[in-house]
């Protein structure tokens, strides 16, 4: 039991700091974004599990040889008023910390969900009044605005893709199709669930390098996954053309009409906006364009297998250590 808690603590540290840094600097994720996505999820889940597990196992150590036995011991103390003198202050502290962290993570997950839902609902209410359905594309709304903008708003059966008429004026028919396929891939692959989970992970533990790096990586990887869907239907040049036009917004009018001065100042020109925090400045669009211009070989079968096996192992090890540390001493 004791040994297991040390191992879990070491695993938690590795997953909170060095592992995400190494993965965020690796080049291969752009070759197989799906595999990288699985690995990031495994790192986050296993990281949380081993953080909680380490404290739980440490705190329960005096009560039994494995988790079940120890939990039964804990139940006896609470429910049957058994003496708790085997538990020292450190153990009580560790157990409280484990429960607090668990509650914090679960609570943040729900809070984040409610916040996202609320923002989407308000956005959708206004959107429904201001946009009109596209004549040619299903589940697509068109909003009158000069900036080239495309995005999708998830919401189950009411999921929509939104295009600005500014964008439609700038893109060719094929480029527009690339944008639509890209956005629909976000919706059909349920990327919003990943964004939700990693946004919650970040707001729960903002000071951990892993949560910040993971969120940024996931944001970039879902774009690559959606790009990969788009190039199944249009050629690479078309998609790159669409990205270039939207990203640089070069042909877009710089001052949207009909705005009060104060509003147009707060509104970024076209697609451009200086990043407030240079540390947050990502090069994800550059990465996307680079892999489209010079398509790289996806990972070989063996390499993908290694990454996926590592993910599976990351999830199995803390689970096994929690449930059956009796076997390990």
């Amino acid at each position: 039991m004791f040994w297991a808690s040390h191992f879990l603590a070491a695993l938690a540290v590795v997953l909170a700091w060095p592992a995400p840094i190494v993965l965020s600097r690796a080049q291969w994720p752009s070759r197989s974004p799906f595999t990288a996505m699985v690995l990031w999820q495994a790192i986050a889940l296993a990281g949380g599990l081993s953080m909680i597990g380490a404290m739980l196992v440490w705190g329960l150590e005096p009560l039994g040889d494995n988790l079940l036995e120890a939990l039964r011991g804990l139940w006896d103390i609470f429910a049957n008023d058994r003496p708790a003198d085997t538990l020292g202050l450190v153990h009580v502290f560790a157990l409280s910390a484990a429960s607090l962290l668990t509650a914090h993570l679960v609570f943040t997950l729900f809070i984040t969900y409610a916040r996202i839902k609320g923002q989407r609902r308000r956005h959708r209410n206004l959107l429904n009044l201001l946009s009109s359905p596209s004549q040619t594309n299903p589940a697509t709304l068109v909003i009158k605005h000069p900036a080239p903008v495309a995005y999708c708003l998830p919401g189950g059966a009411r999921s929509v893709t939104v295009l600005s008429d500014g964008l439609m004026g700038l893109l060719s028919e094929d480029e527009l199709r690339a944008v639509l396929v890209h956005e629909r891939a976000h919706l059909s692959q349920r990327h919003h669930l990943l964004l939700w989970a990693f946004a919650a992970w970040r707001s729960a533990l903002p000071w951990l390098p892993t949560s910040r790096l993971a969120q940024r990586a996931v944001n970039e990887l879902i774009e690559m996954l959606a790009d990969d869907e788009a190039v199944k239907q249009v050629d690479h040049e078309t998609l790159v053309g669409a990205i270039a036009i939207v990203a640089t917004g070069s042909h877009g009018p710089s001052t949207p009409h009909g705005l009060s001065a104060e509003r147009s100042q707060s509104l970024p020109d076209g697609g451009m906006e200086p990043d407030a925090d240079p540390d947050e400045a990502s090069l994800s669009t550059v990465h996307r364009v680079r892999r489209l211009l010079e398509p790289q070989r996806p990972l070989s079968g063996a390499q993908s297998f290694t990454a996926l096996a590592a993910s599976a192992l990351l999830l199995t090890v803390p689970t096994v250590l929690l449930i059956a540390p009796g076997f390990l001493g």
């Binding site: 996202i116 923002q119 989407r120 956005h123 209410n125 206004l126 959107l127 429904n128 009044l129 201001l130 909003i143 009158k144 605005h145 900036a147 903008v149 495309a150 995005y151 999708c152 708003l153 998830p154 890209h182 956005e183 990327h191 919003h192 964004l195 939700w196 946004a199 970040r202 707001s203 969120q215 944001n219 790159v240 669409a242 990205i243 939207v246 990203a247 640089t248 949207p256 009409h257 009909g258 705005l259 509003r263 707060s266 509104l267 970024p268 697609g271 451009m272 906006e273 200086p274 990043d275 407030a276 947050e280 400045a281 990502s282 090069l283 994800s284 669009t285 550059v286 364009v289 211009l293």
Partner: protein, 123 residues
């Protein structure tokens, strides 16, 4: 029968299209004429219009002038300002916003834009 959502849209279009405040009765008459209204040919009850208006009022889109009888309603701000507000939500970067909607292209910093131009120029 038009849904409440569609009616809200048509009512807002009418209010945005005029500078003046309108009573529920005037709105009902205008709705009967509205070409895009699915309520064409059918007379809407004034109570329905009032329901729609109070929903819009709750959403902060419409304000009521209470000093006249019957009350008159007007749009709080112009359609353009609402659009700007909506686009601001879409275009502005905030880490906690990123999960709300997925943009085709996230915010591009000036330095990233110049890297992009270089990349695309050389291809």
């Amino acid at each position: 029968m038009a849904t409440l959502g569609e009616l809200e849209r048509t009512v807002m279009d009418l209010l945005w299209g005029t500078q003046e405040a309108m009573t529920a009765n005037t709105l009902r008459d205008a709705l009967a004429l509205a070409p895009e209204g699915t309520s064409e040919g059918k007379e809407l009850a004034v109570t329905t219009v009032l329901t729609v208006l109070s929903r819009l009022e709750k959403k902060g889109l419409v304000e009521r002038e209470r000093d006249t009888r019957p009350h008159r309603y007007r749009a709080v701000t112009s359609r353009e300002d609402h659009t700007a507000e909506l686009m601001h939500e879409v275009l502005v970067t905030a880490p906690d916003r990123e999960a709300v909607l997925a943009r085709f292209i996230g915010s591009v910093s000036e330095s990233e834009a110049s890297t992009l131009r270089r990349l695309l120029g050389s291809s």
